[in-house]
C-alpha cells in the first residue's frame, strides 16, 4: 500500500524544496527590517523625533522575526527525516512559503497602524493562515512515513499538531477580538507564551524518549 502510493505520487528529492524554503524564510526575515527607515535631510531635532517614531517598527520587526523564526524551526522539525516529497507536500509547502512571504505587509500595518482594529485583525489572520498551512504540512508528512528515512514517532507528531493548532486557534480568535479591542487582542496573543513553553518542553521530552527507543 505504502509502496503503491510512493510510486504514484513521488516528485523527487526534498533537497530543493528545502533550499527554496530556506531562501524564502531568509528573505522574508530580512525584508521585515526594510521598513525600519528614516527620511533623509532632517535637522537634528527632527532626526531625534524620527528615531523615536521608528521604535514601533523595531518592535514589530522583533515580533515578526520571532514568529517567522518559530515557523522556520517547526519547518526544520517537520522535514527533519524527509528524503523525498510528493505533489501534495510540494503544493502545501509552496502555500506555506506564499504566506510567509506576505508577512512583511501585516508587520508594517502593525508598526504603523497598530492601534487600529483592522491592522491587528490582518496580522492575526496572517499568522493563523501560516499556522494552518504548516499544520496541514505536519499532518501530511506524518501520514506519509515513506517519504522519510525514519517515521516521525506518533507522540512527537501529535505534540507538534497540538502546538500548531494552539497557534492557529489563538490567532484566529484574535481576528474578531481585534474589532472589540485591538489592545485586548494583542494581550490575548500572550496566551501562547505559556502554551508554547509547555508544548516545547513536552516535545523535547518526547523526542528524547523516541531517540532512546530508536537507539536501543
Amino acid at each position: 500500500m505504502n509502496g503503491h502510493q510512493r510510486v504514484q505520487d513521488d516528485e523527487g528529492s526534498a533537497a530543493r524544496l528545502l533550499a527554496l524554503s530556506d531562501g524564502v524564510f531568509a528573505i522574508a526575515m530580512t525584508l521585515l527590517a526594510l521598513d525600519i527607515t528614516l527620511p533623509d535631510g532632517l535637522d537634528p531635532a527632527g532626526f531625534r523625533q524620527a528615531l523615536g517614531d521608528v521604535m514601533p517598527n523595531v518592535w514589530a520587526y522583533g515580533l515578526s522575526f520571532v514568529v517567522i523564526a518559530a515557523f522556520w524551526r517547526g519547518h526544520h522539525q517537520i522535514f527533519r527525516y524527509a528524503r523525498e516529497v510528493d505533489g501534495t507536500v510540494i503544493r502545501i509547502g509552496l502555500l506555506c512559503l506564499g504566506l510567509i512571504a506576505l508577512m512583511p505587509f501585516p508587520t508594517t500595518l502593525l508598526a504603523e497602524y497598530g492601534d487600529l482594529p483592522q491592522s491587528v485583525a490582518v496580522y492575526s489572520g496572517a499568522v493563523a493562515a501560516v499556522g494552518a498551512a504548516q499544520l496541514a504540512l505536519t499532518v501530511v508528512m506524518w501520514k506519509r512515513p515513506w517519504l522519510g528515512s525514519t517515521p516521525l514517532p506518533d507522540p512527537v507528531a501529535r505534540n507538534d499538531v497540538a502546538d500548531l493548532a494552539s497557534t492557529v486557534l489563538v490567532f484566529a480568535v484574535a481576528v474578531p477580538l481585534a474589532f472589540v479591542s485591538p489592545t485586548g487582542a494583542k494581550l490575548w496573543w500572550a496566551v501562547l507564551i505559556p502554551v508554547k513553553s509547555m508544548t516545547g518542553r513536552r516535545g523535547k521530552r518526547l523526542r528524547a524518549a523516541a531517540q532512546q527507543l530508536g537507539a536501543q
Copy 2:
C-alpha cells in the same frame, strides 16, 4: 557519440546552478509581496480606504506566486535526475532566471493598471517568455540524457513539453487579445486550468508507470 558530446561541453556539476535558481525563485517570490504596501500617516478612514485599495495587489501577488511556483515545480522536475550541466543548459537556465526575476514588474502593472490593455499584454508576454525559456530547457535536458543519472522517459518528457507549450500558447495568444479586451484576455488565461489539470494528472500517471518499469 554521447561520450564525445559529454566531454566537449561539460561545465561541471548541476548543484550550483540549482542553488542559484532556487535563490532567484525564492527572491522573486518574496519581492512580489513588496508591492503590497500602505502609505504612512493616514487617518482611520483613509486607512480603511487604502486597505481596500491594496486588495488588487494581494490578488496579483497570489496569481504571480502561483505562476512562479508552478514554474519552480517544473524546474524541479526538469533537473530531477540532473548531475551535470553544459554550456547550453547554463545559458538557457540563466535566461529563465533573468525572466523570472522580471516577474515582479508585470505583477505590479497588473495590480495597479489591470484594466489597461498594455498591462495585460505585458503580463501575458512575460509569462509566455518564461514558459518558452523553460520549454527550451526541458527539451535541452531531455536530449542530453548523459547529464543525468537516469534518462527522463520519453512519454514523461513529451507530456512536460505539451504542458509548457500550452502555457506559452495561451499566454502568447493573450497578448494581442488584451488589446481587444483586457478582461477577455484575463478570462482566456483560465483555459489553462483544465489543460494543466489534465497534463498534471497524465504526468503523474506516466511518472508512476516509468518508475514501475524502472523498479522491475
Copy 3:
C-alpha cells in the same frame, strides 16, 4: 553525560540552519547597497552634485559589508565541524540572524546622519549586539563538542572568544563615547584594526598547530 545531553536536546542536522544563515548574510550584505541611490530626473549639474552626495552611502556600505563579512567568516569558523544543532544553538543562531538582518538600518543612519551622536551610538550598539550574540554562539558550540565531528581545540576557541569579546568591548564603549564626540567614537573603532590583526594571526597559528596535532 555528553550522550545524555545529546539525546535530550538534539534538533537534527546543522545543514538547514547554515543554509538559512548564509541566506540572511547574503541578503543583508546585498540590501546594504540598496541605499546607494539617486533621485530621477536631475539635470547634469544636479546629477554631479547628487553623485557626490551619495559617497557617504558608499563608504557606509563598504564599512558594513566588511563588518558583516567578518561576522560571516566567524560564523563559518564556529560551525566548521558542526554536524548537528540543539535547541539552544538554534535559538542563539536565530538571534544572530535577527541582528544581522537589522544592520542595513544603522548603516543608513551612519550614511545619512553620521555626524549626529545618536547615529554613531546606534551603529556601535548594533555591532556590539551582533558580536555578543556571536560570542554566545561560539561559547555554546565550544561547550557542546558532541554536536560536531571534531571538537574545537580549546586554544582556538579561546582565541575566537577573545576576538569577539574585543569587538563587543570596543563597540560597546563607543556607544557612550558617541555622545561625547561622534568623530571620536568612529576613530575609536579603529582600535580594532591592530587587535583583529593580532587575534587573526594568532588564530591562524593555533589552527595550524591543532591540525598538525590532529594529523599526527
Copy 4:
C-alpha cells in the same frame, strides 16, 4: 611545501562560501529588476508614456543581468574542483561579492542618466572592479591546487585569466573614454563580444582536451 601551506591557512570547506556567493549573485540579479517600476495613479495616456520611459531600465537590467550571469559562470568554473578554502580565497571571494552587490547602483545610473559621462564611467569602473577581483580569485585558486580535488589545467587557467584580463582592460579603458564620449564608450564595450566569443570557444576546447587527458 604544499602540505605546509595547506595546514597553515586552511579555513574549512568551500561549500558555505559557495552558498553565500550563490545567494549574493541571486539577490543582485533579482534586485536589478526592482528599478523597473511605474508610478501609481497615472491616467491611460500617462501610463503609456511611463511604460515607454521604463524601457531604458529594461535594457540596463538586461545588460547587467548578462554581466552578472557571466561573472557567475566564471565563478562556477573557478570553484569547479574546489573542496576547501583558505583565508586569502575567503577574503578575495568576499571582495568579489561586495562588488557584485553594488552592481544595481551603476545599473540604475546607466538606465536613468545613460547619456552623462559620469554614469558610463561609474558603470565601466564597477564592471572593471568586479573583473579585477574575479581575476585575482582565478589566479589564487590556480596557484593553490591543494584546495581542490583536481588541479585546474594550466592552459585552461591561462585562458580564464586572459578572458578576465580582457574584461578588466576593456572596461578600464572605457572609464576615461566615457568623458570623451559616453556613446563611444558604450560602443567600445562591444569589443568584448568577439573577444569573449573567442576565449569562450578556446576554453571549451581546452577543457575538453584536459578532460580527455584526465580520462586516459
